[in-house]
Symmetry: C2
Subunit: 398 residues, 2 copies
């Protein structure tokens, strides 16, 4: 018996289904290789204007997918929503809500009454777009570790080619948080004459070395799991769930602030009376939470995709890639208006990174608006603090 | 051919050898079990006064051992020094220097011209004191996961019994950093009439939930390594080096501050020209550093010891264990003078924890002195900032 599709909440884009498009041409990548075929998973919300001038491209972060808004016609066991900022959102994933449903919809920050919002799954992803778990035409088997090592610029190349195939030339805006914000910034630099506005939330022009280190540790945890098998685990019946779980735990703690953990868990024990003297079982609530998050994540996410996207976001460095080391020079050709939002408690993508972008743009005389929202939930704020982001974004886009 | 023993540096306690003592009686532990036999590895520096009133007990942190000062007669391949705060100290471990050699010696913070300094390897350790790799008399094989789950109080019980065996009743001071500081505080609470002074550096009365989480993640990384084998890896020819490496990487990043990583590595690439598009190889210097630290650590440290000591330091909670939830009540009977040192950039054992102890002691009218040293190297400062700690400690002990 099939579950009935739940009624979309008020302000929802309704029930949606992820579609797929095969790019007509090979995509030439930063590493020098060409990728073909490339399939892109996507969803759209709202109506494309006759002049095709109301398109907003929404880019997702490491663990997201093309299902940004609305209720999935076929809700997965664990939606993308369950990954990032998940714990705060118990219940949404069960309903198959998109990962940014609070921000995309009629009357919301990205207003689908006005804009035609397009969300794709990222190149290298595991949500329907070509990635390491796709079939390598050269072998007929999954790429695995033979998938080319991609960059944020490569993701934007695929997004550009995808929009071409849809007949969309210009973007009224490109928006995203975290790795999604990196894509938005890359768009503004790479296609200055095709982007009217950039919304980069909880993002950066280059991850700081501690962030590089956390990502490296997460990847090490996966690659050191013998079930990773050098990346060729598909079809073996074994997956590096143990290592992926550890990677996810590292992620979760870096997405939350120390005060948020204090607030949410404190030092509360699983069994209130006392410790049970155990090494292997969770004693503190925060330990139990980590195990739960790890278990939920490995059910829905591909380990190689994690490795490739994590690598791409550590590589991202606007100054190095576009400015010979100078962020200002990298941003010289930007013509989009830029909105930067960061969160006071985000130590993974701290406000200082947004401030550096703001300063460089300001010195260049470019239109830029930056907001630091005082909020306690760390990097996860970008998925949680909808109420305070919404008026800022709506005003910026109006 | 044997290597010649290197000449001790000026101000050194000289060449030392770790000795061992078997406790005469079983030790009753918090978990209810009795442990017997218990062997304690220790070193002493300086001369015991005829009245036995000049003893300082030095307690080590998670990865330390009994070799606190001087040059080891038989230097290990990788000394304890190489573990904690190691990277800043290239060369010292090769010389077999004790982990706190900068602080313990003639004219140093813990002045061996004046004090008889005693350093033991912690209960549960892998540096000669009874721990999970010791032989379980019940089976004739290593305890492994059958070793009792110990607490900081249990460590202090063993230290107390060890000093009894040495004929030492009172301590002029008990000192340590991090987990070592926890032991010092536990001494003051548990044996108020036997401790004249406490020096707790970069420590806390209870680790905050983010610290609990980091420790949980490190332990998960070890226990999820199939080579851990439920803790019974000894004698199998396989050890959970992969998981231990990840645990150590997590440790290292939490011991350093984000600005220190910025300063030390920035986003410098391994090969200065450009990225090489690789998932499996280090691209950034900080990635290479992490691998190096992991490889060095697994050569010298036992995985089960890591699990047991990590668990003990997350359990430690003076208020819960001694004050029915109130830190002030827990400290009511303390009669020792207390010196608390913390470091501005230490986010794992932040100054706020020391301030809470200071406030509670002050409200109780107890003699307490607290210093926050402005220094950029995070938790590792307690091993690195000798120059600024030394005058504070010397003055306090004089």
């Amino acid at each position: 018996m099939k579950e009935p599709i739940p009624t979309p909440p008020a302000g929802s884009v309704g029930t949606v289904e992820t579609r797929h498009l095969d790019l007509p041409d090979p995509v030439r990548l930063d590493c020098g290789r060409e990728l073909h075929p490339v399939r892109v998973a996507y969803e759209t919300y709202g109506t494309l204007s006759p002049r095709r001038d109301n398109v907003i491209l929404v880019c997702h972060a490491l663990s997201g997918d093309a299902h940004a808004a609305g209720v999935a016609k076929t809700p997965p066991a664990e939606s993308a929503r369950d990954g990032f900022g998940a714990a705060e959102r118990d219940g949404t994933s069960a309903k198959g809500l998109g990962w940014w449903d609070g921000m995309v919809g009629p009357g919301k920050a990205f207003d689908t009454d006005r804009f035609f919002v397009v969300a794709t799954n990222i190149l290298g992803g595991c949500g329907g777009t070509t990635g390491p778990s796709s079939t390598d035409p050269a072998t007929g088997r999954p790429y695995g570790p033979d998938f080319p090592v991609i960059t944020v610029a490569d993701m934007v190349r695929v997004e550009r080619a995808f929009l071409d195939a849809l007949g969309i030339e210009r973007l009224a805006a490109v928006a995203g948080g975290s790795l999604g914000g990196m894509q938005a910034l890359e768009w503004a630099v790479r296609h200055p004459d095709q982007v009217d506005a950039v919304v980069a939330i909880a993002s950066t022009h280059a991850l700081h070395p501690q962030g590089v280190a956390w990502n490296a540790i997460a990847r090490e945890a996966i690659m050191r799991d013998p079930d990773w098998q050098g990346g060729r685990y598909q079809g073996t019946g074994r997956r590096p769930d143990a290592g992926m779980g550890v990677a996810r735990m590292v992620g979760h703690i870096t997405y939350l602030s120390a005060p948020a953990l204090e607030d949410k868990f404190g030092r509360r024990l699983q069994f209130a009376d006392d410790i049970r003297h155990t090494i292997t079982e969770p004693e503190f609530e925060v330990e139990n939470y980590l195990r739960h998050q790890a278990a939920a994540f490995v059910r829905r996410f591909d380990a190689n995709t994690y490795l490739y996207l994590s690598r791409a976001l550590t590589y991202f460095d606007l100054a190095r890639q576009h400015g010979g080391g100078s962020l200002k020079r990298a941003l010289e050709d930007v013509s989009a208006r830029t909105l930067l939002i960061s969160f006071s408690s985000d130590w993974l993508y701290p406000p200082s990174a947004s401030q550096e972008i703001e300063e460089a743009l300001r010195e260049l005389g470019k239109p830029v608006e930056a907001h630091v929202i005082e909020a306690p939930y760390g990097h996860d704020c970008f998925l949680l603090e909808e109420a305070r982001q919404t008026p800022i974004i709506r005003r910026f886009l109006s």
